[in-house]
Symmetry: C2
Subunit: 604 residues, 2 copies
């Protein structure tokens, strides 16, 4: 079983040397308290909680799973105590307003906290993570009374929260939602319907659970324009313990994340309260979708990191065969796995995704800070600007990082050979847990449509790609004469040109043939992910080169490893971008021409 160690050296590198969080924090009110000392203290304390409390429950949580009996859900042994410790530390409200019981620190610190928790124990992290969704929705759209009634206990962590969207007949296509809301004379509503796949829908960690539920008012318009949002608590405020018609019907049996309770939730005339305007539930729901999706994209990075930690440890211990270029450990019965080129290929891929993904998340976290800061200040223009910037990043982060996270979690298993398949080593659990990440919070296909169809074509006509790719061009032109950075610079210039070409070409086709949006979207998303990660690896390589030449480079091997990993990424991973570009530019007919009725495995 991998023993989680918080990668604090890399976190400090990104915060202090690559992105300069200290200066960034000076630009937002929430950053006032986020002094370097405070940040260090938070990272240090969170690392302890993760390494000592959460990580040891990762494998046992999977083995034991959640139990369902008489409508009650019991989380695995140790989860309640760990949650209490988490609450006692004030961690839930870390980046929520002081007026509701939070610590008022920047959202980015919340994401940095989440990454450590996610890597130590993803299933555990989902409980406070889902609460976050409810908290953000209430904070943004709730009335003053709702803020007091719900946001305060949620921020304190005394209560948990959920998002209740999916129903048996629909997940992605929320226009099909059937759950009903009947208005009552007192201004409340009776909510009735069945929701499925509700993470943290019922559990024993908190005294109450606040459900944010999508439902339809009587005579609401059909489809997505007739959906409203409701707060439906397990127990009404002040009536803890009194049944409100909210019940868990069963737990889903899943491939992984077994310590996370995935519930079928039945609402039987449960009392609920409208939040936000009538029939605008989906818009309200999507307000914080970007931050929620960044939260999920962290899973990609987290499982890459954890699997890398496990695989690297094994690769240094396990002896097998001799290196092709001659014995490396002549006194041992064989050389360690790490001396074999193909094992290194897998380890470097893992390292590239974990550290490249971390850089992408930290970068986006600064945008999230700015967006939330603008929201707190009711500055709509600034809010929209940063929400749009984030809107371009999130489908790439969510889609690309979870796909690559799953891929390199599999690589980690592969490093173990047959042992990777055996439960006790813990490597297969990471793969099973990672597998959900490309499915929920919008599948990869949905992220791809959101990116290409909405963000790139509809909303910005390619401007978002042009804007972001300027960063690649800037790095490229600035470093083209630096002997160490030239290969990165040169390739970034090529990628920037190709990314824009790809966007323009698809845009031209889409004007005549809408199908291109769905046939090219996945490849466009993956291309964008490779391109974006290339930029962040070049950026890290630039800092590393600078430190190695100009000092401040303790330990030197950290920086050498950065340069070597960047080189590996550009040489061995980036070529896949071209394959995605080639595929994306092919005629739509190669995907669309076969008639649905001719698709078969059983031709007569």
């Amino acid at each position: 079983m991998p023993t989680y160690k918080a990668p604090v050296r890399d976190m400090r590198f990104l915060m202090n040397e690559v992105f300069d969080f200290e200066s960034h924090y000076k630009t937002i009110p929430e950053g006032e308290e986020a002094t370097p000392d405070m940040v260090e203290a938070i990272i240090g304390e969170m690392a302890k909680l993760c390494e000592n409390t959460l990580a040891p429950l990762y494998q046992t949580g999977d083995e034991e799973g959640c139990k369902f009996e008489d409508g009650k859900v019991t989380t695995p042994k140790g989860f309640k105590e760990a949650y209490d410790e988490f609450v006692a530390g004030g961690w839930q409200g870390l980046s929520h307003p002081v007026e509701f019981g939070g610590q008022g620190l920047p959202a980015s610190l919340g994401l940095i906290k989440s990454e450590m928790m996610a890597t130590a124990n993803w299933s555990f992290t989902m409980y406070p993570g889902l609460s976050m969704g409810a908290m953000n929705t209430i904070q943004m759209h709730g009335s003053d009374q709702q803020l007091q009634d719900y946001l305060v206990p949620l921020t304190e962590g005394r209560w948990g929260g959920t998002m209740c969207l999916t129903e048996p007949q629909c997940g992605t296509d929320l226009g099909q939602v059937k759950t009903k809301a009947e208005p009552q004379e007192d201004g409340s509503y009776k909510i009735s319907g069945t929701k499925i796949f509700i993470s943290s829908g019922e559990h024993d960690l908190t005294e109450n659970i606040v459900h944010i539920v999508l439902a339809r008012l009587p005579d609401a318009p059909k489809g997505t324009k007739g959906i409203s949002l409701f707060i439906v608590p397990k127990y009404l405020p002040g009536k803890i313990g009194e049944d409100n018609g909210v019940h868990c019907g069963s737990l889903e049996k899943k491939m992984g994340i077994k310590a996370s309770a995935t519930c079928v939730m039945n609402f039987d005339e449960a009392t609920g309260f409208l939040i936000g305007p009538e029939n605008q539930g989906l818009e309200c729901m999507f307000t914080f979708m970007n931050t929620a999706r960044i939260g999920t994209s962290i899973q990609g990075l987290a499982h890459a990191e954890l699997s890398y930690q496990g695989a690297l440890t094994y690769a240094k211990e396990r002896k097998s065969m001799r290196a092709l270029s001659g014995k490396k450990e002549p006194d041992a019965i064989a050389d360690s796995l790490i001396h074999h080129g193909d094992v290194r290929r897998m380890l470097l891929k893992q390292k590239a995704v974990a550290e490249g993904g971390r850089a992408m998340i930290y970068f986006a976290a600064q945008y999230a800070d700015k967006m939330i800061s603008a929201a707190q200040a009711d500055n709509d223009e600034e809010y929209k600007k940063w929400d749009d910037e984030l809107g371009f990043l999130t489908p790439i982060l969510k889609g690309f990082l979870t796909e690559k996270g799953l891929e390199v979690a599999n690589d980690g298993m592969q490093v173990f050979g047959g042992h990777g398949y055996i439960k006790e080593h813990g490597m297969e659990q990471i793969v099973r847990d990672a597998r959900i990440s490309t499915l929920y919070e919008g599948t990869t296909g949905i992220q791809a449509l959101d990116l290409l169809g909405r963000k790139v074509l509809l909303l910005t006509k390619g401007k978002c790609v042009r804007d972001f790719s300027k960063k690649l061009v800037d790095f490229g032109t600035k470093n083209l004469r630096d002997p160490k950075l030239r290969p990165f610079a040169w390739k970034l210039l090529k990628i920037a040109a190709e990314w824009n070409y790809l966007t323009t070409r698809i845009m031209l086709v889409a004007a005549k043939d809408r199908d291109v949006v769905s046939t090219a979207s996945y490849d466009f998303l993956m291309y964008s992910g490779y391109a974006m990660m290339a930029y962040f690896w070049a950026l890290q390589a630039g800092v590393a080169r600078d430190k190695l030449e100009n000092g401040g480079n303790e330990p030197a091997e950290f920086y050498k490893a950065k340069l070597a990993t960047a080189e590996f990424y550009f040489d061995r991973m980036l070529p896949s971008a071209k394959a995605h570009a080639d595929a994306a530019l092919k005629p739509t007919k190669s995907t669309m021409q076969l008639k649905p009725e001719h698709f078969s495995f059983d031709y007569e």
Copy 2:
């Protein structure tokens, strides 16, 4: 849960229209009885057994798993009855000699049988599959007495068999094997040691189990040159029920293939018998390695097919959103998934891997027929020729098909969205079961080393690539003027040139820098897989085009689907080949330069 339907139309297409098995069977003695009527009867009967008996046990077998109590292993409910039905049908000895109780049919029919069983229920199929390994070893290297004592009951299926190679300290690196063989005065040996990961090591399906065990004689040379092969039965012949010191110590808890018993086997002075010459155990073991590995490569195809069957059925039923080019099912609440481009991308990938993989296996199966036919006739020269031909194909089939099989099994889950993660739909089981395929029988990394280091560089200096790529050139030059086939022809010519260029370049580098073999091997393997599958898709497209234009095309949609899938493969999947070629040609230093001690996740 996918309901397995044997893809008999595609099987007939390959046997009768693409590869002409009828003529092929006339060239080998074993083919005499394999008349078209006989082949049809075998396919029909096997399809029934698979669809009606084996497939219904697939999901229940996973849920129940194998049980271990008091040294005994119990297979899941229904397995024993299904195995008895399998034995009663004479299926185990289908392609083994009549003189030992078999039906004497060609090896290729055995592989075609295996594909159906593998797809219907992989875990079940492993029991008779492992026996096959023992049967082949005994047939090739056993004394007359051993043939009578062991091969007959194995061929009848009354006894099962295993291969006992791996020990806790070594899997790939068998030179580290420690199990001891002490010679006894009666010519037998006392075998002592522990073997792990022994599939079918203990179970309740057969009255006896014959283990083929790698062990060391006293004073044997160190490493691989001091390993001998032994037959060690659970019960000695004629002494059924009398303990022979062969015991199952425990069952491994695994990610998947839970109905297959993976045993720790303890040999405590168990009586065994030398098979083959002293200290040449590894060579003997590897005699039939090619056929064993083709057997495992079938798993890639099987899981691609089963996942495709499940995903296609769901994609035609589930309604979600509207197609981008306008409503396709205006009377329904939404369009079926199959109308969405990104879902089609995944389905077509699955279809391309399943049917392309099937073509690759059927092609290799004819080589296996010729090799085995030569072996039966003691024609060493012919045997070596076909063994060499197969030796080039097997690492590609095993490495590429299992990797792609796993990938598209994941695609099938993805088509289901969140439901794919839930056990009851059966899609996640396919992924868990498929996951072992890239690990056992030599990991993908080992296949890649075998292909590039041994088959391509050491043994043939690139000739095997030159020879195989001639097929691509032949197809290309022949069809360059055919308007329908021109795109395939043109790309095959390019691929043939690139494949040889890649081989030559790596060969030149390898002369100075051995590390290239291990840093480029994986990408070279994947490139070779894409190239080879391209050829077999072009071949199928050629036949389909011919049938559509010249008649004999019932049903026409089958042939149209072939052409459409070929086009999809060339347009959307083949671009990945170039990415692998690009990566393979990068300097070794991008993988090798980082010192092992600088590889870390925890820099101080």
